[in-house]
Amino acid sequence: MRFITVIAAKEIRTYFSSPMAYVVSAAFLAITGFFFVASVSDAFAEASIRGYLAGAVFFMIFMSPALTMRLIAEEQKLGTLELLLTSPLREFEIVVGKFLAAFVMILLMIVLSLYFVIVLFVYGDPDIGPLLSGLLGLALYAGATLAVGLFASSLSSNQIVGLVVGSGILTALTIIDFVSARLTGLVSQILDGFQLGASFSVFDLDSFGVAEGGHFADFAKGVISVTDIAYYLSLTAVFLLLTVLVLEARRWR
């Protein structure tokens, strides 16, 4: 546990000392702000954060791998992975420490982006339920996307590969409903079950929202279901485990 904290603390310090995290946060604020404004500027708009959530889950497909791409790839490039792997640390401590650092960063960004919740309360009368469930869902969703990004970062010493592979996996999980819609029966159902949550129809400003059949839809509506929570948590766990396995496999090369 102490090693996890040590690793996480170091990575958080590195985030704050590099321009990357600031650029990414600024982009996140801008994009979520845009979607929020677009969703509430209509005369009949409801006072909700659905627009914000749609923008956030969409942008995280690219933002999360961008946040994590450095974490393991750079250790391999600098050769510092050899120091980590010859220190009395277990691989899972390295992986969990780095994951937590990225998770803390993304939670900070989410908190920063919540200034408009205040706006909602001032000018409208938002439902507390969907607001809280939406944020809980967003945190779970963020964790899952970061785990995928971290896994991608472990695959090579090239950060760009980490970014592309990470966003690629997340995109695949996002457009999986296009595929399942063209299939029938069990396969279609199974594929549907993997839908990550975001929807690429997010740019269609009339139909703000997240993928209808995806795991995020209920959170956005104010419904918290065990299936959705379990989906995001297991996605996180599986990809963290895969990352650990990749690091362990490094030893055998």
Binding site: F3, T14, S17, L78, E82, L83, L85, S87, W252
Partner: protein, 323 residues
């Protein structure tokens, strides 16, 4: 402290180290010598728990590197070949972090850090970004992280590679000092370095250990010829060489090529020569008499030990002939 028994390590089908066995006792400084691709780094990576051996047993401080990897890693300080550093941290931050992931608590790091920075003479650079350090100072930072947690065993992979001659001398001194209180395995392909620092040398070639001895003993064992450095006044080189080659005990005589042309010109009157003679036949005496009989002035006559370069060539070429 380090015990390797019949260890082999293959990368896929390719064997990098083949059935090596050796032991490094407490307090020993052992040099690990071999050309590029001999298997030095591979062996060190097995010893430090970075990669498991394909077969054989390796223990460090009594702990098996496979079944008790974490214990091994707790007792070892390692300077990898590439000197891995986080370039965007300051020297102090980097070392503190390294200490913490080695399992040191805050107080221990706080107490130990200034001492280590002093020891490797990094004082002026303690707040410099590691990425801005010169190669020699990066090397020192690497050495500092290896000794920070007071490990029982130090493993250093080519610690002086790529640094300028002045810093090489300083780094070697530093390593020699560390050797006073550490058990150490040090690899190199710069041969005089090993003979300067180490009391014992392991020579590895093509994944096999071809010699294990003291530097001097190796030299004596392999000395098929006695080599003599000789300077004479008033002799023309060809005349001198002919006269000496005429002696039955002499195998070969030549001008000393080790000094530069300029130096040779300056020492023209005292032309330096190298003579290889048969061992144990009082060759020096006979050469001296010949010089004097010819009316030249004998200004220097010194028997030379064989250099490790030559030992190395000899060992590895013998190996080749044997195959």
């Amino acid at each position: 402290m380090i015990k390797i028994e019949h260890m082999s390590k293959s990368y896929g089908p390719y064997p990098a180290v083949i059935d090596i066995s050796f032991e490094v006792l407490k307090g020993e400084i052992v040099g690990f010598l071999g050309p590029n691709g001999a298997g030095k780094t591979t062996t060190m990576r097995v010893v430090t728990g970075f990669t498991p051996p394909t077969s054989g047993d390796v223990t460090v401080s009594g702990y098996d590197v496979v079944s008790h990897s974490l214990d091994v890693r707790r007792h070892i300080g390692y300077l990898p070949e590439t000197v891995p550093l986080y370039v965007d941290m300051t020297v102090t931050d980097y070392l503190r972090y390294m200490g913490e992931i080695r399992g040191m608590n805050r107080n221990w790091v706080k107490e130990r850090l200034p001492k280590v920075i002093d020891m490797v003479r990094l004082g002026e650079y303690r707040n410099t970004l590691v990425g801005r350090l010169s190669k020699g100072y990066r090397q020192r930072t690497g050495i500092a992280q290896a000794i920070l947690h007071e490990p029982d065993v130090l493993v250093m992979d080519e610690p002086t590679i790529g640094i300028d001659p002045i810093q090489v001398v300083e780094t070697r001194e530093l390593i020699s000092d560390l050797g006073q209180e550490h058990t150490m395995l040090l690899s190199s392909h710069i041969l005089p370095e090993v003979s300067a620092i180490c009391k014992r040398v392991l020579v590895i070639n093509d994944g096999r250990i071809v010699a294990d001895d003291q530097p001097e003993a190796l030299s004596a064992k392999l000395q098929h010829a006695e080599r003599i450095e000789i300077s004479v006044r008033g002799a023309e080189a060809p005349a001198f060489i002919n006269a000496i080659r005429g002696l039955s005990v002499v195998i070969d005589a030549r001008s000393d090529q080790r000094v530069s042309v300029v130096q040779r010109a300056a020492r023209e009157k005292f032309a330096p020569f190298i003579v290889d003679a048969r061992p144990n036949v009082q060759a020096a005496e006979k050469i001296a008499r010949t010089v004097i009989d010819n009316g030249w002035g004998l200004t220097n006559l010194t028997p030379l030990p064989m250099t490790l370069e030559e030992i190395f060539l000899e060992l590895t070429t013998e190996e080749d002939l044997g195959e």
